[in-house]
């Protein structure tokens, strides 16, 4: 069966990937919908709602992923640029900015995002890698300083820089992965993104389950009451196993796929952990908490692991292949 698939054309293989992906999602969705028909008590209803929300987010994610692939480089870049825009909007809402930051924020939203994604679309990966850490890193504080407000200058700038780094720089590596080309592995970037998403989700889920079940001493009680070293290690191992099992969709052999998956899974889990600290700091449970002022969809929550895993994954893959 697998050997037969190898002979298929690349686009047929990718199309099959999406058929399987949406098939699984709809099957799970049907099961969840059936479960919601039963009589439920209060706690079960809450769990049910959370499950449905997660599923909806997954479906939206899968659709974005499909649109990104189906519409080629331009579409992929645009779809992820829009995601970056929405994520950064959510981030800035919760970071207390002052009037003096107005120009820097305009620069971030209306210059940095378009340029960064233009670089992705043009496959200018060298400049894409350094544009934000080098050039924007200087430009933002300069614009801020010109606004003439010295109050909490470092803090405000650090927050904006950090938001750009996570929401724009990190996320822009997902379409970059779609557009990355290797010899003998042309047009299969979608598989790499799929690989990245699956292994980081696997790491995340196993880590959460293990941390909760094992009841080990949490590493940082005030940030996450469950997150333990054992849970993290198990998450990374799970990612490696899933990665090794999926090696046939990557350009590498099983051993290397396992290493790549472990790296990606570990980064995603740690990224989620860092985001949790950030949320604690901002005083919200989800970014889109109804009771907070944003009332947003909680997008940042969903993309956070990807934001942290994608750059590390991208660069490790790229270095390895050079």
């Amino acid at each position: 069966m697998l050997l037969g698939l190898r002979d298929w054309s690349v686009s047929a293989q990718v199309a099959l990937l999406f058929v399987v992906l949406f098939g699984v999602l709809f099957a799970v969705g049907a099961v969840v919908a059936m479960m919601s028909l039963r009589e439920l008590d209060e706690a079960a209803r809450g769990r049910q709602q959370r499950r449905q929300r997660d599923l909806r987010a997954l479906l939206v994610g899968a659709t974005v992923f499909w649109v990104a692939w189906a519409s080629g480089p331009a579409g992929a870049t645009l779809a992820f640029a829009l995601l970056s825009f929405l994520a950064l909007r959510e981030f800035v809402t919760l970071a207390p900015t002052r009037r003096g930051d107005h120009r820097s924020l305009i620069l971030a939203f209306f210059v940095v995002i378009p340029v960064q994604y233009l670089l992705v679309g043009l496959r200018a990966f060298d400049l894409h890698t350094v544009f934000i850490p080098v050039y924007v890193f200087l430009a933002i504080p300069v614009v801020s300083a010109l606004a003439g407000d010295p109050e909490r200058f470092l803090e405000r700038n650090a927050k904006i820089q950090w938001g750009i780094m996570v929401c724009v720089y990190g996320l822009s590596h997902a379409p970059a992965l779609l557009l990355l080309e290797f010899r003998g592995y042309e047009d299969r970037g979608a598989f790499l993104v799929f690989f990245l998403v699956v292994v980081s989700v696997a790491a995340q889920v196993v880590q959460e389950l293990a941390s909760r079940r094992l009841r080990r001493r949490p590493l940082a009680r005030h940030i996450d009451r469950d997150f333990s070293a054992r849970g993290f290690a198990l998450g990374v191992c799970a990612a490696a196993l899933v990665g090794a099992a999926l090696f046939w969709i990557t350009p590498v052999d099983a051993r290397r796929a396992a290493v790549m998956a472990a790296v990606a899974g570990g980064c995603g889990t740690l990224g989620e952990f860092v985001m949790r600290a950030l949320k604690k700091d901002a005083g919200v449970r989800w970014w889109g908490n109804q009771s907070s002022l944003t009332g947003a969809v909680g997008l940042l929550d969903r993309v956070a692991p990807l934001c942290f895993a994608a750059p590390v994954f991208f660069h490790s893959v790229r270095w390895y292949f050079r």
Partner: protein, 206 residues
Amino acid sequence: MSTADAMGVLLAFVARLITGAQGHWKGCAPQAEQRIYFANHQSHLDWVLIWAALPRELRASTRPIAARDYWTKTAFKRWLTSAVFNAVYVTRLRSDDQDPLGPLAEALEHGDSLVIFPEGTRSHRDEPQPFKSGLFHLAEKFAQVPLVPAWIDNVQRVMPKGEVVPVPILCTVTFGAPIRLDAGEDKRAFLERARAAVLALRPALR
């Protein structure tokens, strides 16, 4: 679809893209009944935000109030306020023979809903300024129309005074429970109560 309708759809889309324009209906549901919405006023965007937060069916019959001297100065401003938003024009300069609330009363008799900012001007403080008496006179004259308080949050960060380009930051519009003028309630007490109703909708978590 006319150009004005298309412009309306475009403006609502942009407002949602930039601010989210989330409408939270806490005290009443968005219904197609005649209402007077009154809200805090911090920015030029306030009206667009409330308008975008309303369901599309209600937008056509919900009208803002625009100062005639400013909003009819150029052809574009006139088109924007009359064709797109169907604004009620009021004259800021008071003449003796004319009731300043006349055009508003006319619109209400016609069955339209209104959005008013009773502070009269944009405030840049945290709390709204004391309300002007126009709201009281409307409540007196149109006792059957529910007065819906609304709090617009965060919009002052989107476009601070003196800036032209808005920054994308999420904003919410919270609509509260309707209030009415009580029998025998005097002007000061009513305006104070109306202001408190708006202020009570401010989200606690910042």
